[in-house]
């Protein structure tokens, strides 16, 4: 069993594992392998496997990547403030990835609504994972990042709050931001999904159409 087969089995329901992997293996052996180079055949199989990844799983994957980057940056330079340019690049990258995911979801079903729903889901999932990584970051690096310039306001609010522990207060503040963060993810993701649905519609409109074939395939 190769990695693609293992990934496929993780992505589909237990009921369909054998049948879907059998279908793909049959197509691979009968149609793809004889007509394509080994690399192109492997890429075809990988594309089929990727097509089973749900928007939610893409959202989690994007969130894990962004969260890992955030933790890595903090580990390297804990006192470096988030620059406006850096933040714009991150937000831009996230929205681009959400749009691409939604384009794929919309194309899969030929539905505008699917692109929008996919955008919302991927946005919420990404923000949820980024939230978890932020909590980890606060708790692991608190002793260093409490001296960051962009923490001045939080620290002064802590002194006025009556909390005895900065850690507890920072967690409380982050916890309060969770609904806002998830709503932001849903709205921004929904916007990306709307853009994706519009792109799909325009591509469909511009695609050359041939007459509906009457003969059976092959």
């Amino acid at each position: 069993m190769n990695w693609g087969d293992v990934a496929l089995r993780l992505l589909v329901r237990a009921r369909d594992r054998e049948t879907i992997s059998g279908d793909l293996l049959e197509e691979y052996r009968e149609e793809v392998q004889p007509k394509r180079s080994p690399m192109a055949a492997r890429l075809w199989y990988a594309r089929q496997v990727v097509s089973f990844v749900s928007p939610l799983a893409w959202g989690v994957a994007i969130g894990v990547a962004a969260g890992a980057l955030q933790l890595l940056e903090t580990a390297i330079e804990p006192l470096a403030d988030d620059s406006a340019g850096g933040m714009m690049a991150i937000v831009g990258s996230l929205m681009l990835l959400w749009t691409l995911t939604s384009v794929a979801a919309g194309r899969r079903t030929d539905r505008f609504r699917a692109a929008v729903v996919s955008g919302c889901l991927v946005g919420i999932a990404t923000m949820a994972v980024i939230y978890v990584s932020s909590i980890v970051r606060v708790n692991v690096f608190l002793d260093q990042i409490r001296y960051r310039g962009d923490w001045v306001n939080l620290v002064s609010r802590f002194h006025a709050s009556g909390f005895h522990s900065l850690r507890a207060y920072a967690n409380y503040e982050y916890f309060r931001q969770l609904p806002i963060l998830l709503t932001l993810g849903a709205v921004a993701g929904g916007c990306c999904g709307t853009v994706a649905g519009t792109i799909n519609g325009r591509v469909r409109k511009g695609a050359p159409r041939t007459a509906t074939p009457d003969s059976p395939p092959r």
Binding site: D16, E18, T19, I20, Q48, T109, T212, P216
Partner: protein, 113 residues
């Protein structure tokens, strides 16, 4: 309430209705995928068609049963699909809705407004 069908859902159900294709004899995932891609005249990712079949089965518009595998599949079984009477009704409703939209218009449409 009448079941609303998306374009891909209709394409998959129509593939299951056609009797004169290879599919008429053996409507399993791979054959459905090839038939739909051929009819839509574009390449489709496997995940799209299997997700649609799954959704249609959840709505009760198709049913499925397991069949034996073959050597080329490594002995893995096939899942055969069939359209249900609800599926036929949903397709008829979808066609009637499209016909109502086009009623009174001469095709092909010409020019721009």
């Amino acid at each position: 309430m009448a079941e609303h069908l998306g374009a891909l859902e209709q394409a998959v159900l129509l593939a299951l209705v056609r009797q004169r294709t290879e599919l008429g004899k053996e409507a399993y995932g791979r054959a459905i995928l090839k038939e739909v891609a051929h009819r839509l005249d574009r390449e489709l990712a496997a995940g799209a068609v299997y997700a649609t079949l799954d959704r249609l089965e959840g709505k009760g518009l198709v049913s499925s049963r397991l069949g034996p595998g073959t050597a080329v599949r490594g002995g893995r079984p096939k899942r055969h699909y069939a359209i249900t009477s609800d599926g036929i009704e949903a397709l008829n409703n979808a066609k009637a809705a499209i016909d109502r939209l086009w009623a009174g218009l001469r095709t092909p449409l010409k020019g721009t407004l």
